[in-house]
Structures are given as structure tokens and as C-alpha cells.
Amino acid sequence: MKALQSILLPVAASLVAIAIGAILVAALGYNPVSVYGSLISGAFGSLGNLGNTLTASLPLIIIGLGIALSFQSGLFNIGADGQYWIGATAAVWVGYHFTSLPGWLHMLLCLAAGMVAGALWAGVIPGLTKAFVGAHEVITTMMMSYIAILFARYLIEGGPMQEKGYIPQSPLIASNTQFPYFTQGFARSQLSPISMLIAALAVLVAWFLLYKTTLGFSLRSVGLNPRAAKYAGIRVKLYIIIALALSGLFAGLAGAVQMLGVDHQLLDGFSSNYGYTAIVVALLARNNPLAVVISGLFFGALTTGGQNMQIVSNVPASLTNVLTGLIIFFVGCERIIPQVIGWYRRRRSARAQTPAS
């Protein structure tokens, strides 16, 4: 029953959101069927589109794993966007330095730099302040996220990482650190087999870590009941720091993978919002690392499909954000289901009693 409900709820939330979106679109004079049709064909219609969907899903999946891990440890890491950009920045910095290294080693170094940067960004200030003075991690990670983006922007707007010239962007990373793309099949997208492999490994590692190791058991115990965990001899403070650092590590890895696989340099903008969408990905997946893959693909498809929808049926791509916001709101309201069931049962039993009295 519980397992069924954990699948049913996100699906129901998504369906209700899609229905509301359809009403909104119809009210503005568009044909909802063709609008959603263009969204679906944009996401899956051809190998190239499918490649784009996968490309958009990978950062969401990787960050989503970290967020799921923090949720399971009872922590709400809302600042993954900043951890992502700090990871990206570190990876790019390493990527255009140390150019004499062999390609594979240089790649690994970039990935490691991204992971370490993300882990430190989440683990040091939010982690330590949460563990030792109880500063709420929702606020500290959010504030650190803005600081990260401002810092990265400073680096390329007149700071030490700006490429020579007037354009606010960093130099390109060394060409031997850039992930190779598919030469056939997905060739029309920026999908790389290496990015896919890393994402798959990340899923397995997150799942194994959470469910098959003592560390994961301790993290989940802290998440379920920190007081009980403390009495069971688990060092709660330590695991709070570890959980936030691990969560940041995944976000930083996603930033590094995106830089090596897609962007190849820091560009002005910093408005990908991957870190926020990934929270929705984790919520929809009920913090299960394997389900994160499916919900990551769903939101990746929404992103790519939305762009196609704007071109084909002239409906602004921001409709997908409306849907995302509604889905997260409805998933948040999950307790409405038992409440409605309880209300229905009460009403039925009240009706059954009326004739008797």
C-alpha cells in the first residue's frame, strides 16, 4: 500500500498539474493537445531530441541524488545551485591550468576539483553552523548559494578568471579535458557517453552508500530520529556535516560534468536553475536514488520539450515552470490524501449510523 502510494502520489500530482496547464493554455486560445504534442515530440521525437533530453537530465539526476541523500539525513539542502556553480568554477579553473597533464588524468582532476569544491561549500559553513550552533540549513545553504553565484560572476567579470578582452567569460578548458560526443546516433546533441557513465556510476554509488553501508545507515538514522540516533551512539553532529558535504559533492560533480561535457567554459548568466529543479526531482522521486533517474528524465524532457513547444506552437517555454511549481506544491500537499480518505470514511460511517438512530 505504502509503495503504491509513493508511486501514485507523484504521478497524480503531475497529472493534476498537466491538467491545470491545459486549462490555462486553452483559456488563452491555444489547443492544449497540439501544445502538449509539440512538447512531447520536442523531448522524444528524434534521436537528436532524445539526446538533448538526456543531456538536460544528467545534471538534474546527479544533483538530485545529493539532495535525496540530504533529505534522507533529515536536512534540506536548498542551496545546491550554488554548490553546482562552485563545482563548475573549480573544474573550469583546473581545466585551463595544468595543460601539460595527460587528458584522462586532467579530466579526473577537474572532476575531483568540482566535487571537493561543492562538498566544502556545503559542508564547511552550513554543515559546521548546523552541527554546532543549530543555524538552520535552509537559510545558510540558500545564502551560500547566492554568495557562490556572485563569487563566480565576480571571477569572470573583471576578476582573475576573465578571458582577455571585454566579454565576461572564462577561457576554454583544455581540449583534451572536453568529453567526446557521440559520432552517430545522438550526434546532433551535446550528449557524451562519459557524462552518461558518470551519472550512472553516481546513481549506483548513492544507492549503495545509502542502503548498503554503515555510513548510509547512520545517515538515515539521523534523518529518521536524531535523538534516537544519538542514544544509539551515532555521532549526530558528525553525520550532519557529512550529509551536507556529500550533498554538495554531488552538486559539485554535476557542475564539473556539465562544464567538461557541455559548456567548456564559465559564461555569464548563471541562471540554469538546475539546483532548484533538482530539489523537485528528489521530492518527486521520494528521495530514492533509483527513482531519481526517472524523475530526472521527466524534468529533462520538460525542459527540452518546452523549448520545442515555444518554437512549434508559439506557447512560451515558461509554461514548464508553471507545471513544475504546481507539481512541487501538490507533492508538498501529500497529506491531503489521507485527510480526504479520513473525511470520506467519517462521512460514510455517519451516513450509516443515521438510519439506526
Binding site: 550552533v133 538552520h136 567579470e157 515558461s318 515552470n321 511549481g325
Partner: protein
Amino acid sequence: MIFSNPEIWALTLSMAIPLALPAVGGTFSERTGVVNIAMEGIMLIGAFFGVAFSYWTGNAWVGLFAAIVCGALTALALAWGAIHVSADQTVLGMGINIFAAGLTTFLLNTLFGYNGTPVNTPKLPSVSIPGLDHIPYIGVIFTNQSVLVYVGIVLIFLSHWFLFSTRLGLRMRSVGENPLAADTLGIPVWRLRYLGVVLSGVFSAIGGAYLSIGILNGFTSNMTSGRGYIALAAMIFGKWTPLGSFGAALIFGFSTALGIVLQGHGVSSNILQMIPYALTILALTGLIGRSTPPAADGIPYEPRR
């Protein structure tokens, strides 16, 4: 020296108002025990519908009224989820922020096209305070500011008085500190929480409308650019009080004004913009006067029947 130029103080005030209003709104919500991170989204709703109704009716005051109504309705959704459904308030707030950013951009593009809102949209008047505006040096601060600056200042002081010196204010705070005790005394916990959250929607919407029809007369996608989150920081830095929030907003507004004035002087505005966030973390860690949230903040309350 730039500080002797009174323009920077005028700019500080005009930059502080769109932070202070949602911060005071958030204070109302969190003082009654509902965590509100949706100020950013509600500001966007207020900013957009303020412009839309101002254009459709040709009257900026109607626009302001519509902004307040739409902001209050959005807050009502948050209140319902947080109070009646006992949902995770941070999750709801995030949902509203993403929804509002999507909806306002979507409606902007479908109703007004891709070239932005019409240039002939009426805006609220800017006024100078007669008497004050002729005082040397500080007169500039009260010259040609949007009418909402003065309305905002009055609202902030009224809010502080309301929350800390009236019976209803005391009851609202009691609901956020110890709802069970308040309930035992016959105080309607849920109703007061609804009031707090809806007030936060009203204040945030005015803050949003200030940006779109107070300073400017148009809406652009995501025009609040994170002010709702800085307001959250101001609320915390101001220790969950309206006057404290206003003080924090003035400090943050000053750092924004400084960034604008120092542009091209070799000081990175990006670094200056970090100040609010860094100060907030310091305040939370107790390094500069510990900020402690209301005791029942974020915890749903199930009334005993």
C-alpha cells in the same frame, strides 16, 4: 567623498523599501509560526498584476489594488497548504516561487508579446514631502520618491506597533511561540496563522508593485531578481521584528546603492552584493547578536477537538 553626496542616501532608501516590505510581511508569517520563503514569488505576482491592471484600467492605483489581491490569494494557497494540510512549508514556498516565476513570464509573453509590457502603462506618482524636501543635505532623501516609499515607511512603523503593542499582535506572536498554550486559552491558532500569512502576501505584493509601477512602469521577466530572498535575510537579520527588518533592509539597500554609485570605480558590485548574505549567516551563527526564530516556526499545529 561619495558619502557626502546625499543622493546615495536617497538611493539607499529607495532600494531598501522593496526589501523591507516583504521582510515585514515575512515577519508576520513567521511570528505566527508559518515559514515563508515564497516572498520572491509573491513579489513577482504583485509586480506583474500591478502592471497588467494598471495598463488595462489606465489607473495605477487599481493596479496596486490588483497586486495586493493577487498577492493575498497566492499567500492564501501557501496558508492553506501549511495550515490545513500540514505540508512542509519550505517545499510549498519553493513550489510557489517556481510557479510564480513561470506564470508571470508565461502571461507576460502570451498577453503582451515578447517586446515587454506597453510603454504607456501608468505608474504611481512620485512625490516630495513639502517642508522636508527643502532641508539642506537630507532634503534629497524626501524629494521625488515614489509615493509607496512613504506609504511603506508608515506601514512598517504601524506593523511594529501592531505586533508588539496590541492585543491581536500579542495573540499572533503567542501562536508562533506556543500554539498549544494559545489554543488552551481559546485563541484561534489557525485563523491567526491565516492572518499572518495573508499579511505577508499583502506586504510582499506591495513590494513587488513598488518595483513595477512605483519606480518603473513595466514588468520584465524575473524583475525582482532575488529581492524576496534578500528580504528573507533582512527578516532574520532584523530578528523577526518589523523595525529590525527595516534597519536590516536599510543596511542591505545601502550596499546595493554603494554598488550602483561605485560602478566603474574598481570595486566589484558582485562582491558588495554578497554583504547581505554574509551578514545573515553571521547573525544566524551568533557572531553578531544571535537571531533566534519563533519557537513554533515551521511546525504545523493540529488543533485538539
